[in-house]
């Protein structure tokens, strides 16, 4: 897998939470660059700041200081609606607990982010949804509802939903935390496969040592600071 120009640049990101009278510094001046096509894991213990960092990169939380450049756009300069638009077009999210809508079937769940993108026609939307579902291997489950799927299948639906909009970056916060180890490996293999096929940048957090062997780049975080990076 070849990597290209930077998709995400973090410059001196800090995040401080006020808990009562106590200030908690979750991130302490993190600078990081992710290039197009990279498959990166953020690794660290619980409470190290992995999720907070992912939230910043995913534009679902604001850093206290520092700036985030996402695909050439300074996120800080955007208002809420423009950030929503940016998330819709540039980022795909995969959640630990899948977060599928139970009353919608696989197709409708995957279609959700595309519905609010007026640049995508109805025909193109249908094609993209079908392709994404096929890519995650659920072509025969297209009209099933989430409660008719296994945990691994639900996460595949979530991956298809994240990919359907052809985002620049797919982010996953501990995507395998609710899955057994066999399924976890399958999901990571699927993500690696899609990374190779679609050249889409993947960034995910995990503290599962077994999964890290499959990742090309690992970013280690501890106490809100980067403590090292490694490439396999």
């Amino acid at each position: 897998m070849t990597v290209g120009a930077p998709i995400v640049e973090l410059i001196g990101i800090t995040k401080t939470y006020q808990l009562g009278e106590t200030k908690v510094e979750a991130l302490k001046g993190i600078s990081l660059s992710l290039k197009k096509g990279e498959f990166t894991a953020i690794v660290g213990a619980s409470g190290s700041g992995k999720s907070t960092l992912l939230n910043m990169i995913g534009c679902i939380d604001e850093p206290t200081t520092g700036s985030i450049i996402l695909d050439g756009v300074d996120v800080h300069s955007l208002d809420d609606n423009k950030k929503s638009d940016l998330r819709n077009r540039k980022i795909g999210f995969i959640f630990q607990s899948f977060n599928l809508i139970p009353v919608l079937d696989v197709f409708e769940n995957v279609e959700l982010p595309l519905l609010i993108n007026p640049a995508i026609s109805a025909a193109e939307r249908t094609d993209r949804v079908h392709q994404a579902i096929k890519d995650v291997g659920l072509g025969d489950r297209i009209r099933n509802r989430p409660d008719q799927l296994s945990g691994g299948q639900r996460q595949r639906v979530a991956i298809a939903r994240a990919l359907a909009g052809n985002p620049a970056l797919v982010m996953a916060d501990e995507p395998t935390a609710n899955l057994d180890s066999t399924t976890s490996f399958k999901i990571i293999d699927l993500m690696l496969d899609l990374n190779a096929k679609r050249h889409v940048t993947f960034l995910f957090s995990t503290h599962d040592e077994k999964l890290m062997s499959k990742v090309s780049r690992k970013v280690h975080i501890a106490d809100g600071m980067l403590v090292g990076a490694s490439k396999v």
Partner: protein, 457 residues
């Protein structure tokens, strides 16, 4: 927003109603029950309104528009001669009325007081003098017969416009006839029998009051003399109101004018082909009557001084129904708000997911507002069905009741008012949208990462 998105969100909202089915069912049943209760109350108000409307316009012979001398509504009872319309005024008004095509019928009214006697005793009366063709028009009007059968069914005898030329007919209210001890109308007695003068000192004289239908009317004339005349009781009728049922009589305009020795009248009543033309007719009359209009008061039937019973009763009923409506609206708002708040709290991760994949705060609110809207619309539709069914059975059951001041029993009939239904549906749906919007707006502003993680609570 594109149509496909709205369709998809609507589909999602509709299906979401199945989530938390019991809560949504309970909320829906509360809305349905409240809506049904409001429709029944509105149905009752609608029925009463129609009864009073047509009773006022036709039963009281008020017409849609009345024309009288300015100030006469306050002063006529005291000095009728000064506050009535003389022949010259009548001529001017008649000429103008004849040119107006929107008028279905117009007629003269004369009101006055006096004493009515049975040969032994006299009682005060309040008389209405009316041209017989006008009386026939008003008393046989389909709307009057449709809405006030509880009054018209009490009539006994023949109407006064059917009287033979050699008879001076009078219609006497049932209560007054009872006071007079006269229970038979002209057609119910042996007319070949000669009238005899009663010996009022006879112990059983009351038994003979009904031997004939003759009554004596006495009054002071408008020029200060005393006058009296004989009349034949053609009809016993109910005024519908306790207040007037023991004092009212109706007789022909000529008879009453003759009794008061006048050619004047109290007012004109104007009935229109279409009631919607009431105000425009008043405007036209003012215009066509020119300067003379300044000496007149031309008023609609629902002006408080013309139809005080209608206006007063309806004001009370509308206030009551409005109060019930406000209470129900509050209940509906709180039910929806409570349901929406609980739903939103339970589904905050879903809100976080939607925000993460690019849904704006407005779109997230819309998802929940659509749910509240659908729940309300479905509930109100059920409310309409239950309300109409209830009305059907109530109307079929023949329940009668006696409203204060109304003579005789009134059947409880609930009249569905489709405009009220539509308006109430729109109001309730709007309130539901508003309540849901308020419930959702807080959570849609929360930090997305906290929503996704469920740490916002």
């Amino acid at each position: 927003m594109n149509l496909t998105l709205l369709q998809s969100l609507s589909r999602m909202a509709w299906r979401n109603l199945r989530r938390n089915f019991r809560r949504n069912l309970a909320t829906g049943v509360a809305i349905t029950a409240g809506f049904t209760a409001f429709l029944l109350a509105a149905g009752y108000a609608s029925r009463v309104e129609s009864v009073l409307r047509y009773y006022t316009i036709y039963g009281l012979r008020t017409g849609h528009v009345t024309i009288q001398k300015k100030g006469s509504l306050e002063m006529y009872a005291i000095k009728p001669r000064l506050w009535s319309l003389d022949e010259n005024a009548q001529s001017k008004i008649t000429t103008v009325l004849a040119t107006m095509t929107q008028i279905e019928k117009s007629g003269r009214l004369l009101k006055g007081q006096g004493l009515i006697g049975n040969g032994c005793k006299t009682f005060p009366f309040i008389a209405t003098g009316v041209d017989l063709d006008v009386e026939q028009y008003a008393m046989t009007h389909p709307e009057l017969l449709k809405w006030t059968p509880h009054i018209t069914k009490l009539n006994i005898g023949r109407p006064i416009w059917e009287a033979e030329a050699n008879v001076s007919p009078v219609a006497v209210s049932i209560g007054l006839a009872k006071l007079l001890g006269k229970s038979k109308t002209l057609d119910q007695i042996d007319r070949t029998q000669k009238l005899s003068i009663l010996d009022c000192s006879m112990p059983n004289v009351r038994d003979h009051f009904s031997d004939d239908a003759n009554v004596q009317l006495a009054s002071g004339t408008w020029d200060g003399q005393l006058n009296a005349s004989d009349s034949e009781m053609m009809q016993l009728y109910s005024t519908g109101l306790v207040e007037t049922n023991s004092s009212s009589i109706v007789l022909s305009m000529n008879q009453l004018q003759s009794l008061y020795n006048t050619k004047n009248i109290a007012s004109y009543s104007v009935w229109l082909k279409d009631a919607k033309d009431t105000q425009s007719t008043i405007n036209t009359l003012n215009e066509k009557l020119g300067d003379f209009a300044n000496e007149l008061e031309i008023l609609p039937w629902n002006e408080e001084r013309i139809g005080p019973y209608y206006v007063g009763t309806m004001r009370f009923i509308v206030t009551m129904v409005g109060f019930i409506g406000c209470v129900l609206a509050l209940v509906i708002i709180l039910s929806i708000f409570n349901s929406a708040t609980m739903t939103v709290i339970e589904r905050s991760e879903e809100v976080g997911m939607l925000r993460s994949i690019g849904y704006t705060r407005g779109l997230v609110r819309l998802v929940f507002v659509l749910e509240g809207f659908f729940l309300t619309v479905v509930s109100t539709v059920f409310g309409i069905i239950v309300g109409l069914t209830s009305m059907f059975f109530v109307n079929r059951s023949g329940i009668t009741f006696r409203p204060p001041g109304v003579e005789g029993g009134l059947q409880l009939i609930l009249v569905p008012n489709f405009w009220v239904m539509i308006l109430a549906t729109v109001c309730v749906s709007s309130l539901a949208v508003f309540a849901t919007w308020i419930a959702v707006s807080g959570i849609s502003k929360k930090n997305i990462s906290e929503l996704v993680a469920g740490t916002h609570r």
